[in-house]
Symmetry: C2
């Protein structure tokens, strides 16, 4: 049988049209998913009428605004304080220099395509449709980023003798014990008032499957989901005994379940997640290629003023003896609040209060080059992350360059207030030493594997002064409205702080608002 | 600060040696993980002493044996019934011909690097160290395979009005309800005999986090883990209301939890999983490059005989009028049991009985080329799989070629006895029509998206007659011992039926056994 495409389609019978597909998607409540992705901002050509826009900050938000506005005929000028675009989207490679207010690190990584560290954003969830839409539009190639790796480790200093336990077992055993307890309660008629007789039977059946309980007593006695003992994890030539379950009381005394166990279930952390092949800054480069000509690098904003025509931005370009001024019809300000609050401005009292109220998280990332990928070789850990109750919080195994010789490990990702401040205060060398000492408890022999390292404390980063706004999911209303001709952008104005999706959504909102204002005139 | 590698290592203080790493790994019970991977078979050079081995079948198991034995100085001849190596490791691309005993399909896929379907094995779990070891050794590039995609769908014809529901919500809500019920039981003192007062407090706290319950009543009222209503899944510019939870009774009446919900928790299905970039047959090509010169293609085994010197294999080469005979010191037989049982042989009664007792699963895969990646565009589904209670069982979204224009969807992966037989009996055209009709219930408008398709019913596949041995995790002991000079290989002799890891482990076991026998002489 040779079935060509044409006679195949003819043969399948009732063929629904594209419209039908969309209608049915809507009926299923799924159409919203495609909103941002399917319909990127599309201002009418020439609708900008040559209006001028001063964009403050060449991060992802500022460049998105510049890209969309310039396409529509606006004259954009982007003032960027540093010598590079991207803002917190920062990928470190060999030869790079990482500057903080009181230190300067030269990155000493090997020059190979998999030897990099994303020191800012590192993942893109599947439902961040707008940034993914730009990746698609710009041809930024994506690969999967793994949060949930069952081979990775959970570590509490005071639990299980201070030894790390494997995620596969923690997840399996916690679920098994919960299922067993609930089965006892339901089977013992303790929840008869909550359940119909029919549901009761079904839930008992469900719990046996959910927790892999042993019939007829519905007890949890370990599960092959947790892996086999001794020689290998899996069944091999001949299945052996499954691992003994971890002690339930000890699990309850651990901090694993406080949020670490559910981390990859949270909305922005569950699969499928992506990363650009070769480094997160592939997104920066793609934007910069399109709007780089509008960017004035090393141009530090000194004042943000309202004028009768619109705005005046006073700035100092590198190497200049005096300030320059940029007059424009509108300004889009994506300067992070901790920096913005100290720039002289004509903002309203309400705007100033909002900006002053936004505090940023003192996140720190530390990346190490290792002489070999010991986590893959010794422990079959491919990507994902281990958790510890030490300050380093996490060790990330690079979800790229699998099976290559060396690797770049994220040796710490810290976002707690105290731990972040502690590491921020350290010198770069002290940070590496502290992260290695803590990592040694998760991977004994760790120090010997490490060849070099680099750290990034976002609070000490010039023109950033922090990683992302602390209050999650609370949008600062005042920054979603313009203050005169000045609009605010960046993830800090959204319900997605710290996410590039927030940055581009904020830019879209501002671009739409400016366009509506201009076209209404 | 410019920290070079050398002074960095000097600075980190106590540096443990490599030996210490290994010792500590052993202490942690982790050393077994690296066994196969770290120490691939390594027979002494020349230890084969020119002994001859007839290998029956150029699948992954047979080629592994040929590779390892020939390196050690054995003279290997591989008899392969078909014109290609790889056996069930089969990747379909445009221009390929898929033959079954009563049909012939020409694959009509576009010729692009992401337009392929793995019709046999499609994933490699992280702990399948031996096949991963070959991937590393041969430079087979890997990328992540996704089982658990929270954007994918669960579908029951009789539940939720027959409409698919999103995995993210099913997982979140099932867990929420279980946590709520157990919290009621624990809080109502129903499990006081099971828990200490201290554990009781901890478990209540845990359940609130586990299920995202609302305090103070510890009720489940939906969770942001399940996503937000209306415009977009995530928080966006301003978080809205979380989705209403799915009805618990309806969830209990569904089949979601019977195993589908826990599928990606099973040992061989949990993350991280891999696939070779460009198609699973990259593994076949890598082996074939190394042992292809030993393979006699289109050579069908007719008899397997014991001789005083070892074995005689009678076979018929394509285009020949008469049978040939191959005499060898040993034979390694990886011919699938459903085929092997009908080949005249000198096996012992026990061996014959074992072979006759092995029945294979009638699995069927159906792949479609689509005119666009509607699952990505419309529903933000990137890789992973949707589940249905219809015969097609699953729809797989390709975990490769993300954001490209077209895609190859796995429109059915069937392994049930009845459903597999039903689809096996159909003509290829009927299979495609039936799979499209069922897929239409999961993705309305499906038919209009499909350009061409191909199916593979393994029971009707010449020289295979089935997908993998039915009884999981039960190793057929009799086939793990030689019968005279005849050794048995293939995944069918292991606790990993249907997995390439089983195929290579079986080959290693046989190679070791032959080597020990030869070197003992």
């Amino acid at each position: 049988m040779n079935m060509t495409r044409r006679n195949f389609i003819q043969s399948v019978g009732a063929v629904a049209g594209v419209e039908a597909v969309h209608r049915t998607m809507q009926a299923l409540g799924l159409s919203g998913v495609s909103e941002a992705h399917g319909a990127p901002l599309d201002l009418p050509l020439g609708s900008g009428q040559g209006k001028s826009v001063a964009i403050l900050g060449a991060g992802v938000s500022g460049m998105t605004a510049a890209y969309e506005l310039s396409k529509a005929g606006y004259r954009c000028t982007v003032l960027e304080a540093t010598g590079r675009a991207g803002g917190r989207n920062l990928t470190a490679r060999g030869g790079d220099v990482i500057r903080e207010i009181d230190s300067r690190q030269s990155v000493d990584f090997d020059h190979q395509d998999h030897m990099y560290a994303n020191l800012g954003p590192a993942r893109i969830p599947y439902h961040h449709r707008t940034i993914l839409g730009y990746c698609k539009e710009f041809g930024v190639e994506l690969e999967v980023f793994t949060n949930d790796n069952r081979a990775a480790l959970f570590h509490n200093r005071e639990r299980f003798g201070g030894k790390p336990v494997v995620a596969r077992q923690v997840r399996t055993d916690v679920r098994g014990y919960i299922a067993e307890l609930l089965a006892k309660a339901v089977g013992g008629n303790a929840l008869d008032s909550e359940l119909t007789a029919e549901d009761k039977e079904r839930i008992l059946d469900m719990l046996v499957r959910y927790g892999d309980l042993k019939e007829p007593d519905r007890l949890y006695k370990g599960s092959r989901r947790g892996g086999f003992r001794r020689e290998r994890i899996h069944e091999g030539l001949k299945a052996g005994d499954v691992n003994d379950p971890l002690d339930f009381s000890e699990l309850l005394r651990s901090d694993f379940w406080r949020y670490k166990l559910h981390y990859s279930d949270s909305l922005n952390q569950n699969p499928t997640l992506f990363q650009p092949v070769g480094g997160m800054d592939a997104i920066v480069k793609a934007f910069e290629k399109r709007v780089g000509r509008f960017i004035r690098y090393r141009s530090v904003v000194k004042e943000i003023r309202k004028t009768s025509q619109g705005v005046r931005i006073v700035y100092r370009a590198a190497g200049q003896d005096a300030d320059d001024a940029l007059d424009a019809d509108f300004a889009i300000c994506s300067i992070p609040a901790p920096v913005l609050k100290d720039i002289p401005n004509d903002f309203s009292t309400e705007t100033q209060a909002t900006i002053a109220s936004i505090t940023f998280v003192p996140a720190v990332k530390i990346a190490f080059q290792t002489r070999r990928r010991f986590w893959e070789e010794e422990q079959a850990i491919y990507g994902g992350m281990s958790w510890t109750d030490q300050d380093i919080t996490q060790i990330w195994y690079p979800p790229y360059g699998y099976h290559r010789h060396k690797g770049i490990l994220m040796g710490a990702y810290i976002w707690g207030q105290k731990s972040g401040q502690r590491f921020t205060r350290m010198t770069p060398r002290e940070r590496l030493q502290a992260a290695i000492a803590e990592g040694e408890h998760i991977h004994p022999g760790y120090a010997a594997e490490i060849e070099s390292g680099v750290s990034r404390a976002w609070v000490k980063t010039p023109f950033q002064k922090g990683a992302w706004p602390r209050s999650r999911h609370k949008s600062p209303e005042a920054l979603q409205k313009p203050d005169g001709a000045i609009y605010f952008a960046g993830d800090q104005t959204t319900g997605l702080p710290g996410w590039q999706e927030g940055a581009v959504l904020a830019a879209h909102a501002v671009v739409n608002a400016i366009s509506e204002r201009v076209m209404a005139k």
